[in-house]
């Protein structure tokens, strides 16, 4: 049996009722169109928000010192907490499950020069791990390494903006060149690119924290300790945060309940919260979208029902001349699937087209960026359509199969 034959049989019945078929199909096309637009917008929102998270590992924890706000063990409130190298060492050995850890100093913007070019750049002494915590991408050379720190080397890793300001197009000259930072010459060992949204993050210079303490501050003070938690599950991350807080509280004698003494930003928690939000949004969108499609299915089913009723006589004739119940079911079911499938596909293409159009002409705005329907959505929608078509056809098809030829053919 040549399969094309069945499709021709369906085509001839669909052709007979162009307007009806169009109206039916429209409901389905509209449903799919709306679903795609909704899902695409959801993705746009997600892309936009996740974009805010760029620049820094999503499992990062940043600990900065603050000022006590509570009296503790006879010590007054309002005491400034200052971290030192010992804090970093103790944390590093205590929080065993950390992945990367680095101390950092905040040294503000400093005049930096190379030959006759000057610029003001943010100086940020840190450990080698900071490159992984901040997730910078090296475009030239390397990030700081252990030797730089251990041997107090005057090595510097500069941002792309620093390079373009100081080297004015001679990019290749950057690595190996000596730049003057606060009157001290540092050798550039690498150039990085930062995906953070803030342009200023490209205007940074990272140097070994040990070198900075020796040549600039002469103290062992640090401003921030950050680490990543690797693959640790949320509960374990919470434990790590509490451990850090307890440790620092003990070392600096402050109340662990004092939230002003140290500030701990747990990025993974924020990230997780947004993940939860997106899950909720996606769920909501699918519910609304599927609801819309169900309205379409009911429409198709309804019209097919009427169609079967109208075609009672025809179906009776078909049965009298040898159509089996299965062939009738297959005829009606295929018709429903063809209508929903074809109309749905049009809705799908239109929806993706509109998303593409929006995506291209959308001005840069926060929290919304490149709405898109990806491949998995298209596949999901296609499967949904086939299921929808089948569902829409089942009842009318059963009804058609149950038509008795003698009743259908009875002359009124």
């Amino acid at each position: 049996m040549f399969e094309l034959d069945k499709w021709q049989e369906i085509y001839s019945t669909i052709r007979k009722n162009k307007l009806r078929t169009f109206l039916t199909g429209f409901a389905v096309a509209w449903g799919i169109f709306m679903l795609i637009i909704l899902l695409g917008s959801g993705n746009g929102l997600e892309n936009g928000v996740l974009d805010q998270f760029q620049g820094g590992a999503n499992n990062g924890i940043w600990i900065s010192s603050g000022m006590t706000s509570k009296e503790f063990k006879g010590l007054k409130a309002g005491r400034l907490i200052q971290f030192n190298n010992e804090d970093y060492k103790v944390l590093k050995s205590t929080i065993r499950d950390h992945e990367y850890m680095s101390a950092r100093m905040f040294m503000g913007n400093n005049i930096t020069s190379y030959k006759k070019e000057y610029g003001s750049f943010y100086l940020s002494p840190c450990h080698p791990d900071y490159g992984n915590i901040k997730q910078v991408e090296m475009v030239q050379g390397r990030f700081l390494n252990k030797l730089d720190v251990d041997e107090f080397r005057k090595a510097a890793v500069i941002g792309e903006k620093v390079r373009s300001d100081l080297f004015k197009g001679n990019d290749t000259m950057a690595v190996g060149a000596y730049i003057n930072v606060k009157g001290v010459l540092f050798r550039v060992v690498g150039v990085f690119k930062d995906f953070g949204r803030d342009d200023n993050e490209q205007r940074r210079i990272y140097i070994p924290v040990t070198t900075a303490q020796r040549v600039f501050s002469g103290q062992n003070v640090i401003s921030q300790i950050s680490f990543t938690t690797g693959e640790a599950p949320p509960e374990q991350v919470d434990v790590m945060v509490e451990q850090s807080r307890d440790l620092l509280a003990r070392r600096h004698t402050f109340d662990t309940e004092d939230r002003q003494a140290v500030f701990i930003w747990n990025k993974s928690e924020d990230y997780r919260r947004f993940q939860g939000l997106f899950l909720g949004i996606r769920l909501f969108i699918w519910i609304v979208g599927i609801g819309t499609i169900i309205a379409g299915i009911v429409g198709v089913s309804n019209i097919m029902m009427i169609s079967v009723k109208e075609r009672t006589k025809e179906i009776g004739v078909r049965k009298a001349i040898g159509a089996t119940p299965f062939s009738i079911i297959s005829l009606i079911l295929r018709e429903a699937i063809v209508i929903t499938g074809f109309a749905g596909y049009i809705g799908l293409v239109l929806g993706i087209g509109v998303l593409e159009l929006i995506s291209r002409n959308l001005p840069q705005i926060d929290f919304f960026r490149s709405p898109e329907a990806n491949f998995s959505i298209a596949v999901g929608a296609t499967l949904l359509l086939i299921v929808a078509g089948t569902l829409a056809g089942i009842f009318p098809a059963r009804k058609a199969a149950m038509i008795k030829p003698i009743e259908a053919l009875r002359d009124e």
Partner: protein
């Protein structure tokens, strides 16, 4: 060809049971042309439906060409209808959105014969019935007589053993009716058993036997004197069909 013994059929509608056929015995030999007459409600249509395997009987025995017909599932029944039987109806029952050729070809679709082949065969049959020029017309563009000839072509295309005609001339004028009977007679002469339900004596008289049914029972079986008058044109059709079937 058709042997039925003591066929009973009742219809239940809520609490009322209507006993329509009350024990019918009938033997129809291969190649016979039979008419069934009777007043409305006598059960003649029910009998035809049972003979056509469109309906089931409650009791009794039905053998069609040696095959026992009882408790068939729908698929099997559909298959037998398709292979063994041809139907001709009073209201033609052509499918309105299919042209004459497609209507004639439809039974072959259910035999899973490909489109090109079944359309070619359908055209041959339409040609023999003088409707070649109308092959691509929709039923709504045909006259009553033409529609009935398309329906007959559709009944013939599967080369059935029996043709069951339910008031085939009921919607036709008297001249066309006679032409239709000429045609059915010719088809019968090719060896196809013909059973015609009618309430017109004129029509019944042109068959070999008339079975009169009253109140769900066979009241009498009349032997008719078959008219020998046959127009020339029809003879050619007969020969053509005969050759095809033979």
């Amino acid at each position: 060809m058709i042997h039925i013994r003591n066929i009973h059929k009742s219809y239940t509608n809520g609490q009322n049971s209507l006993h329509v056929l009350k024990g019918i015995d009938l033997n129809i030999e291969a190649g016979e042309m039979i008419s069934v007459m009777g007043p409305s409600g006598s059960g003649k249509s029910t009998l035809l439906n049972i003979l056509g395997i469109l309906d089931t009987h409650d009791e009794g025995e039905y053998k069609l060409d040696g095959i026992g017909i009882s408790n068939l599932n729908e698929r099997k029944a559909a298959h037998l209808r398709n292979r063994m039987l041809g139907f001709v109806f009073q209201s033609f029952n052509l499918i309105s959105f299919k042209n004459a050729m497609e209507n004639v070809a439809l039974p072959l679709y259910y035999q899973k014969i490909n489109r090109r082949k079944r359309n070619r065969i359908a055209l041959e049959y339409l040609d023999r019935l003088g409707l070649k020029d109308w092959a691509h017309h929709l039923p709504s563009e045909l006259s009553g007589g033409q529609k009935q000839r398309v329906a007959i072509a559709r009944a013939l295309i599967t080369r059935p053993k029996v043709i069951l005609a339910d008031e085939p001339t009921g919607a036709l004028d008297s001249v066309t009716s006679q032409e239709m009977m000429d045609l059915l007679t010719e088809i019968n002469h090719t060896g196809i058993t013909m059973i015609i339900v009618t309430h017109e004596t004129d029509i019944a008289r042109r068959t070999q036997k008339t079975i009169r049914i009253i109140d769900g029972m066979v009241q009498e079986i009349l032997e008719n004197e078959v008219r020998s008058k046959k127009p020339e044109g029809i003879k050619q059709v007969r020969t053509a069909i005969y050759e095809k079937v033979a």
